[in-house]
Amino acid sequence: MPEIARGTAQLLVVDDNKVNRLLLSRNLELMGHRVTMAENGRVALATLRHGGCDLVLLDIEMPEMDGFQVLEQIRGDLQLRDVPVLVTSSVEGLDNVVRCIELGAEDYLPKPINPVLLKARIGASLEKKRLRDQQKELVRRFATPEVAQDLQRSGFALGGKRVSGSVLFSDIRGFTSLAESQPPEETIELLNTYYTLMFDAISGHGGIVSQIAGDGLMAIFGAPLPLADHCDAAVRTALEMIELIELFNAERAAAGKPAIRIGVGIASGEMVAGYTGTNERATYTCIGDTVNLASRLETHTKEAGRAVLIDAATRAGLRTAVGVEPLGAVTVRGKTQAVDVFAVVSEV
């Protein structure tokens, strides 16, 4: 949020006592923030649900609905639970402070509030909120709305569940030499355009991008939400990717730049979908033989001289007419047994 970045935030002061309310608001306004006031918990929740509030300063002792009840309501509300709450109270007893923190309060400031301490706590809380907003934005940007919602709904836990789906790997052919022949800025710009096009194709067919690394990407069809026609979706995505690259190449040719080519490998079957990594850093992905095979098929496109290769399970799962040419049994790298490989020719 740019507002927070500039040090100006929208704050809500909740206190039934007018003197406290006015004094706290005054101190906050002197710090450059914008302040809304509420005289009890009920009014505070209504204001919060209106949206746009960056931080709440909450009193505990209030008629109608006290601060504990407000904290409980905020914690139980998906829309509100990320809004940081600083409890400002002269309620005595450590157990009350502990209860606030347990109910999700960010911090506890005893009244009368020291303005210097107040400023520091607000700064820290807003910074934390800014990071959380940024994280949510990152999740949204890299993990698709489906994964973001899955995370919000069931929380984060390493481990996975068995799903049936298709996995797609793609990368740019000869990317390393291309990257060496042009300035890094141009490579970044190329990658950004490339990813924009590929992401569009993938999400347009119900897939999610699980990983991107350099010029390669991995997409999943069938997780976290089941997808009935995952084989068709993956293959149609591949065809659209090829088509978009052709259009992109026409533009590049006009600018005197060399064409790029991509290779795509698709495999289908059972796999384990979920969050892998560590508790600190994890990604939503799929693992299993199916995933390995898709990756190997993508690598094999170089030797086969074809843009899109699929496995037998994907071929068998196709419900719509797609031009497919059997290439026979191929021993791909990392597999001891030969697997039947098919090249996707074009849409029929």
Binding site: N17, V19, N20, L22, N27, L30, E61, P63
Partner: protein, 115 residues
């Protein structure tokens, strides 16, 4: 040695951080609100409303601390933490004592705010 009705350092700090003009306005607000709260404290006591009694005493304590009215805040605090039961056994009325202290606080604050 008796402690002053208003702790000058606390009041000066309030004026310094929030601005003298604002501090004056805040005193006016307190002088308007406090009699209502003192009346509410009596009402709660007469009605046996322990929750409202505690909450109102708490509010008065909090405001007393804001302006540096230390004795007033301490009396309100005793009511907040002690509840209504000790009140009934008390010699003389703690509510009358609080009213009397408030009168001293009000005149001291009025004087300070005008200075």
């Amino acid at each position: 040695m008796t402690s002053p009705t208003i702790d000058r350092a606390t009041f000066a700090e309030l004026e310094q951080t929030a601005g003298a003009e604002f501090a004056g306005e805040l005193v006016d607000t307190f002088l308007a609100e406090a009699p209502i709260m003192l009346a509410e404290l009596r009402r709660a006591f007469d009605a046996g409303d322990a929750d409202a009694f505690r909450r109102t005493a708490h509010s008065l304590k909090s405001n007393g601390n804001t302006f540096g009215a230390c004795a007033f805040a301490a009396m309100a605090r005793e009511l907040e933490l002690g509840g209504m039961a000790p009140m009934q056994a008390a010699a003389g009325s703690p509510l009358d004592a609080l009213d009397a202290e408030y009168a001293r606080v009000a005149s001291a604050l009025t004087e300070l705010a005008r200075a």
